[in-house]
Amino acid sequence: MSTYLAPMRDMQFIMNEVAGLEEVCALPGNEECSVELVESILEEAAKFATGVLDPINAVGDRDGATCADGVVTATPGFKEAYQLFVETGWNSLHCSPEYGGQGLPTLVSTAVNEMWKSSNMAFALCPMLTGGAIEAIAHHASPELRAKYLPKMVEGSWTGTMNLTEPSAGSDLAAIRTRALPVGDGSYRISGTKIFITWGEHNMTENIVHLVLGRLPDAPPGVKGISLFLVPKFLVNDDGSLGARNDLVCASVEHKMGIHGSPTAVMAFGEGEGALGWVIGEENKGLGYMFTMMNHARVNVGLEGVGISERSFQHALAYARERVQGAPVGTAPADKKPILHHPDVRRMLMDMKSRTEAMRTLAYYVAAEMDRAHAGNEASRARVDLLTPVVKGWSTEQGIELASTGVQVFGGLGFIEETGACQYYRDSRITTIYEGTTGIQANDLIGRKLAREKNPGVAMRALLAEIAATVAELKADAELAAIGGQLEAGAAALASATDWLIANYEADTAAALAGAVPFLKLTGIVAGGWLMAKSALVARRQIAAGSSDPFYTGKIATATYFASHQLPFADAYSAEVTGGSAATLALAENLF
């Protein structure tokens, strides 16, 4: 097995020289943060990822969480690792200082989260879900609920979950049936079955705080009648101590394709008199509350695409340097070399490296824009809204492809579990599904973020204008002019698909939706290509200023590869959007 090493140089380059860490640190509220501090944080987080989380990743795959009589036991070693995670304070990195957090910017937590996801995605889901629950409670719950639950959750002593899905309510949350009966003292009795609850039950902490979507007896039908409840595993007394066990139980955990270390629970609420819960915010507004934290959650899952690609790449690269097979073309047959010397293996590794860097740059860029939006920048807010489904959908789709390439590099051994490449591939497979499938992300992108905007297409056109400015800069530099041309062509393809969608969305919504996923991938490739091109410009400036750091020549190489090997797909996707829907929908349902 290889050992995960955080790609510090690329992370720091993107944060400092592309995403604008220094400027993010200067935003109001981030006074504690500085470039040097972030360096230290990354350094120590990397140590934790390599020393604590990476060694138990394969253990979690082989020896996943188990459930017996409602008690879920985490993978051996996970509980101790989680305790260390809490003791070292990592859980509180992004949380508000008001509740004991360190209040560091999203850009910083994004880089740190990438390390957790690379080293142990199944483990990382637990604090990720807690983070989402913290955000929902912090933004929408009453001061009493916040004071009672947040300090323990920020610390990580209690974890959080999201209970949305039910057997007949998946992507369609309007179909939710879980019932909530008002008790009359401000509390509610909750009953119903929830499925796919990540880390819904476990033995790592003394309490678990479930956020549950449910309906009141008099609730309006559909999504306008959904409320959000806080339902703790153990009731919490007024002095903060733990009281009676609440009426909720884990019925089973799922047998899954991957992330075996993360227990995916079927939760049964209220099999007795009903689980006690407290409403978050106002009744019937639950779905809106869930959406306010969606941006972070979706970027976080997109980051899993980055993390798993990086891990799979490192694993494949280590093997390609070691595995000796055949002599490279044009050399003596007896002079056998590691497979890294063979052009097709080089192609695979370059593809993994370049596309992973593009994804990372996009995710960090959006994270920095979230920080700017948080400080009140409206243009950044619009950019975040536009690109969030792209980070989620594009990065996770690529994560699967690249983890598959990671298996391929190993040849026959890649198909053997002991080699370890399979795990990344299997783990990656969930990422395009949970937190909204790629299809849902794409519908969000072409609908709410584009055609159904108040001023349709304004956010995308603002992005295209920025890309045009970068194209001009690239073309002014003879060395980078080729990238400029490729980016220009990609941007033109995105512009024409955008125009087509805006013109046709109302009149033929089905045709537009049939091309939604190709449009999402098109946006991802052009946005990723744009940021890689910007990275190349930075690298050129550094070299011109006298830097001999080989990182910069490497960055120009990966940017050049991305422009010449990924941007050409933009035309194909654009054609699929603007002219492909008729063929997609041509076959009558009964003829399938």
């Binding site: 050992t3 090493l5 955080a6 510090m8 140089r9 504690e32 500085s34 040097e36 501090l37 360096e39 230290s40 944080i41 350094e43 120590e44 990397a46 140590k47 934790f48 390599t50 020393g51 604590v52 260390l84 003791e87 070292t88 304070g89 990592w90 509180s92 990195l93 360190q102 280590a318 340097r321 080989p550 990182f551 490497g554």
Partner: protein
């Protein structure tokens, strides 16, 4: 009691070292760098001495390029109180480092200098010993246990035959072996506090030390690849091969 902890920035121990194709050294391009693991053990020991009330101040010191600040911040995140960087872009060999550390020790007047027994990059295993000689202090190398009491350090050393315990009168130099302790993971609040701690930068010239190299690297090469094994027919052949080929008797 003040404790001085010299730390070195080296290639991370998880990185598989690759020799540059021209044989001039190890390829450090885009390679993750970290604190020398033996030095990390030294920092941990010093911080434990402080936590136990034995030490009053822990000062970390590093000699090398500006990026060594990162290594010093790591030491401060673990618990060192402040740090000194002796900044130099020159190649610093063991004798030069020992002289620089002597100059720093003269300024700081610590009772104890504790550092790794060797750095994992060049494995020289010389700085601690040279420093003790330059200072004229007693030394205990390869420590697996350190007890400080009544102006003395009682140090258990890992030697070939087993363990040896020596008592040194302070001030003294101690170098750490692997089993002395298990370094902690720095906590996020301590990482944040570390940035408020003082990090002073000095130059070799200001310390009056000539750091010019005394040694020349002739060639760096990878260890020979392990060749395939063979099957022996019987015990007699095995003994014969051990005796005549491997020459183990």
């Amino acid at each position: 009691m003040k404790v001085l902890v010299p730390v070195k920035r080296v290639m991370d121990y998880n990185v598989k070292a690759r020799v540059k194709s021209d044989g001039t050294g190890v390829d450090l391009a885009n390679v993750k760098m970290s604190m020398n693991p033996f030095d990390e053990i030294a920092v941990e020991e010093a911080v434990r001495l402080k936590e136990a009330g034995t030490a009053t101040e822990v000062v970390a010191v590093s000699c090398g390029v500006a990026a060594c600040q990162e290594t010093l911040r790591t030491a401060m995140a673990i618990g060192a109180d402040r740090a000194v960087l002796v900044e130099s872009d020159a190649e610093l060999q063991p004798l030069a480092v020992a002289k620089l550390l002597k100059a720093v020790a003269d300024k700081e007047s610590p009772q104890l200098v504790i550092l790794g027994k060797q750095a994992i990059d060049d494995d020289s295993n010389q700085v601690g010993q040279m420093l003790a000689a330059l200072l004229g202090w007693p030394q205990a190398t390869f420590a697996s246990k350190v007890v400080i009491a009544d102006g003395k350090a009682t140090v258990t050393r890992e030697v070939d035959g087993g363990l040896e315990t020596v008592a040194l009168t302070l001030p003294a130099v101690v170098t750490t072996d692997l089993r002395l302790n298990e370094p902690r993971y720095a906590t996020l609040p301590n990482i944040m506090k570390a940035k408020k701690k003082t990090l002073d930068t000095l130059k070799p010239d200001a310390l009056g030390v000539d750091v010019s190299p005394r040694l020349t690297t002739v060639r760096v090469s990878e260890p020979p690849k392990r060749s395939a094994g063979i099957k022996v027919a019987d015990v007699a052949q095995l003994v014969d091969k051990l005796k005549n080929e491997a020459k183990v008797f």
